[in-house]
Symmetry: C2
Subunit: 221 residues, 2 copies
Amino acid sequence: MFNYAYPHPALTVDIVIYTLRNAELKLLLIKRGGQPYKGKWALPGGFVQMDEGLEEAARRELEEETGVSGVYLEQLYTFGEPGRDPRERVVTVAWYALIPSDQIHIRAASDAEAVGWFGVDELPELAFDHSQIVQMAHKRLVAKLDYSTLAFQFMPSEFTLTQLQQVYETILQQEMDKRNFRKWVLALEAIEETGHKQREGQHRPAKLYRVKNPGRVDVIK
Amino acid sequence: MFNYAYPHPALTVDIVIYTLRNAELKLLLIKRGGQPYKGKWALPGGFVQMDEGLEEAARRELEEETGVSGVYLEQLYTFGEPGRDPRERVVTVAWYALIPSDQIHIRAASDAEAVGWFGVDELPELAFDHSQIVQMAHKRLVAKLDYSTLAFQFMPSEFTLTQLQQVYETILQQEMDKRNFRKWVLALEAIEETGHKQREGQHRPAKLYRVKNPGRVDVIK
DNA sequence: GCAAAAGTGTTCCAGATACACCCATGT
DNA sequence: ACATGGGTGTATCTGGAACACTTTTGC
């Protein structure tokens, strides 16, 4: 038992984990095994331990659910309306993470619940206020694509310009002109040729590029 | 006494309260009366009550310290490193607020501690990790001035274009061209003439403007 | 009539947009 | 040789930046 002179809320982290697959933006959900919202899908998350920082807690949960570490993770917003959890007062610090398309080898759920990737336009009904969290994450993601190099966080270590363009087109839901896109993205000077080429299909091989500073997200314009 | 099966952190809100005075960006600090950091300056804030939302808690603290309500308030970031408060684990949801220059009539401190406005370039040493919070708030403020109509939140109900320009110049710390500024700000179509004029000093009176949607902050460009 | 801030237009430059054909490869 | 996606250049438009003089008022 832990005693306090004043009441304390419980504190959790929840994570919107994005990846791109089959030219679709997807996020990871977990089927709840217990009450409340039993059987509903929810964002991965959990309680913050007393000896770990908030980002640390988010990275721990991220790794528990996906096995990945070292990916892009950003604090989104903190939700704490009384009543958002029917059991007790729970405040959650929400984060979002971007996983490169070549790092998806999710361990089939640590907690033995069902885990699944859902296209952002085909989400099931979510537990708690999680659809509000997802909505805010999506808004942030779209906004940041426009004024930062965030999109590069989705790329594998080597990629073609066409693949990069598809990332933008998928998330922003609009087609772009190939020549203008290439001029723009190369002018950023944030990627460079690797010297390798990708040979596939009966057509000209594509030059492969890499991100110059893989960890880094810069503001542009 | 309140008992929990698992340990819970304490939860607070802290607020960076900005205003403009004498063409200087200032924020409100409170001198701590008790330990820890006794005698140091700190951001206004306090514990979140169990029956109030996070924004509600922030607005309550804001009103307790300044007497103002209905001003712009935005969640900034949540800080929760273990050890940021030496007494117990405290997680704080940080906010920032903008107070129009005509609404500053701070009640001389509710909690009987000293309260004061400090220019952002003349801040004293701060308690806890509050200088980190202030730094982040300032970065957000400057960034948002560029891509939103946030600056209008500092304006009184009627103002001249010169006054508005001074707000931008003060916060961004750079001079602007009068003609370009006016063209730009009028093209936003977010302010309109009131029909009144401000007469003062031995020169031509200035047209007065008002914000069309006083509560609203829009993304621009 | 003079001091002081208000108000106003044009030119120039850079970055974004629109747009169509040739290239390298596999079958 | 043909099908497939890779790769490239130019003209135009638009929004931002630079820049100086006239107007209205109080004293």
